[in-house]
Subunit: 415 residues, 2 copies
């Protein structure tokens, strides 16, 4: 176990140098990493083949084997995304605000890296590179802990990243990967609160709950995305239908897709059957409340459990509500603080919905599928937080930094 502590200590040391390294050097390390990956495609695929063989031996579903695979296409994407990160503005050193006190002190806030970030993830080896690149660009050292399925691929990628850092004059310990895949190593990592500043778990709800329950280090996470669309009284038929179909169907397996449709009772007679028909034409199974069932005969009855379920599939729960207030209460009760959207023509209700819903993203007349760091223009996404502390919603580079107070005086002392 001491190697986890040693690793965290080395990351802490590296982070002290990284905090003050020029942007150009960090970008150089990212370009070197892309170069290393392109130069070492053969050995990366060799390492990856070991993971793929083990996956097939264990009988993992073909979809998972597919996500594990480092194909030429995946490797090219990884390199492209490394190059894209070099183009993002460096958040470190930005003066966020300044003000002057009556005694002449100048107070300001300056953006600095968090320090050391621990990332605990499952499956896809491209996360190793993507996450490391964002941590590096924001001046943080990173300790990675990937899933056992991808251990050989991850070790090979992490070795190239460390080499790229050294080639650019950054500490080799900027990027480190934990080489063991047992849970004891994770538990040890989660205790290093004096050495690691932030943990980001990426994976299923089980992994994330394990991390939250055992971590002494702050955790940024979301358990699940149970996103709602509320179709208001008087909503435009075409807009409501198009948003609902997009939110449910465009990519059902991700956290920002719609899981529950709430619709005003005055729209249950005509708009609801129209939306339902459009969804069913795309293969969506509808699970409805009694009022829904009477309008959509092909729907199945919804259960209490459905309301809190993230299907990640072509399934949708539907409820007819008497008012926007009832819709908001339903979301308060069953929502996951991820993303909610109202489709309405009423400006007053749009504003009330935007103001009163306490989810991390609240939308008017837009598909929930836009809830994403890239789509919001953050330039990159390290994850989405439904914890309210530090960052709430999609997180980009800035969310991997904090601010310190800087004070400029001329000898002031306190009376």
């Amino acid at each position: 176990m001491t190697d986890i502590v040693t690793m965290a200590q080395k990351a802490r040391e590296a982070s002290r140098r990284l905090a003050n390294i020029p942007t150009d050097d960090k970008n150089q390390a990212l370009l070197e990493a892309a170069h290393e990956i392109r130069e070492n495609t053969a050995s990366l695929k060799e390492a990856n083949r070991k993971d793929l063989a083990a996956a097939r031996e264990q009988g993992l579903p073909e979809a998972m084997v597919d996500r594990l695979t480092l194909s030429d296409k995946t490797l090219t994407q990884i390199c492209t995304s490394l190059e894209e990160v070099t183009a993002l503005p460096d958040p470190v050193g930005e003066i966020v605000s300044t003000w002057k006190r009556p005694n002449g002190l100048e107070i300001g806030k300056m953006r600095i890296p968090l320090g050391v970030i621990g990332i605990i993830y499952e499956s896809r080896p491209n996360v190793t590179v993507d996450a490391a690149a964002l941590c590096l660009k924001s001046g943080n050292a990173v300790v990675l802990r990937g899933g056992s399925e991808a251990i050989h691929s991850n070790l090979a990628l992490a070795a190239l990243l460390a080499r790229a850092c050294q080639a650019a004059g950054l500490p080799a310990e900027t990027v480190q990967l934990i080489g063991t895949t047992d849970r004891a190593a994770v538990l040890e990592m989660l205790k290093q609160e004096e050495l690691i500043d932030l943990i980001i778990p990426r994976g299923g709800e089980g992994l994330i709950r394990f991390v939250v329950e055992n971590s002494m280090i702050p955790v940024l996470k979301h358990y699940k995305g149970v996103c709602h669309v509320y179709v208001d009284e008087g909503a435009d038929t075409e807009m409501a239908t198009s948003i609902c179909v997009n939110a449910k169907v465009q990519r059902p397996g991700v956290c920002n897709s719609m899981e529950t449709l709430l619709i005003h009772e005055k729209e249950a007679g005509t708009l609801l059957p129209t939306i339902a028909a459009a969804l069913m034409a795309e293969g969506v199974e509808i699970r409805g409340c009694p009022a829904t069932l009477s309008q959509v005969p092909d729907a199945k009855p919804v259960t209490e459990e459905d309301w809190g379920t993230e299907y990640l599939d072509l399934i949708l729960s539907v409820k007819v509500v008497g008012s926007m207030e009832e819709a908001m209460e339903h979301i308060d009760c069953y929502g996951s603080l991820h993303t909610e959207s109202i489709v309405t023509r009423d400006a007053g209700r749009a504003e009330r919905f935007l103001r009163e819903m306490q989810s991390s993203t609240v939308m008017v007349n837009a598909s929930t599928r836009f809830s994403d760091g890239f789509e919001f223009g953050l330039g990159a996404e390290i994850g989405i937080s439904t914890s309210k502390l530090h960052a709430f919603g999609p997180m980009g580079l800035k969310e991997l930094t904090t601010t310190k107070f800087i004070v400029r005086g001329e000898g002031q002392i306190r009376e």
Copy 2:
């Protein structure tokens, strides 16, 4: 234990209403609270006498008994500070920034309350009111857990606060105090991560470590303040002396007082003895490195343990360093990320110190004693964070809020 869960659930319900309550109503509740306290001075003192009697019976030191006492003066201060909080701007609803995407979506960030805040504190009953007032003003419900020494005083104050909330039309559960003082209740509280958004422990390092080790909820805290002043080569004698004396002597028992003085070797011959004499004239005991001892014969030898110690007393450790780099390395190694100040006439080194020190407050030519929410102009202070997540440094009302993304569309769907 179920009453802790029930309490947290009621706080969660209250927080949903509080998030959308107008500023005027929140201010009205604060004014009602001041009114209630003024009207009920006799019964508050009666409750307080029980705590004082128990404290004397247990033989608590007179200084602690003093801090427990609800005198006329303390009660007046409490009421004044309630009234001052009404004058602070309400952070909730502020649009922090907005931008437009190429597809026409308008993205913005709106400030919202965190939700439910748990405060775990020791001793002084005025914290009950001060902390509750800041949580209320920022639209948060609060669950308070004070120390056993002040339980009668705290219960009496919390009852008045709840009554004031009701009188102003706010939920009575805006402010709740846990009535038991056993640790099991704290442990139960720290598990309610779905109901409580933030824990702020205020007290000794032991209490804070207990909270961090056992909390599944994010914690904002600082363990201790080991603040440094570095006196640079060529520093102004008068300024260096005045800042060092102020930082150490003005109020030695608080976290932003200086605990270690670092001084450039070129200033060891004349400036160090001058500063040391000024400090010793104020009764400060100096514990020095060998180079200090040779210049300040009355100093005692420093030990390795001293460097990391928060004395909270008229004791100072002193080290002569060869360069600013050595000073920064010492701070990196032994500091607590609280506050560091450089006294210098060199603009370049001032900027390097401001940029490279990763503490929550970094100062040039000012006393560390200014590291404080009020002194920084935040209007109020709920505490100081040396955790880098969410808030780093003194925390005011804004740090009790987060931001959500708000998105205004015209029917956009994702391609």
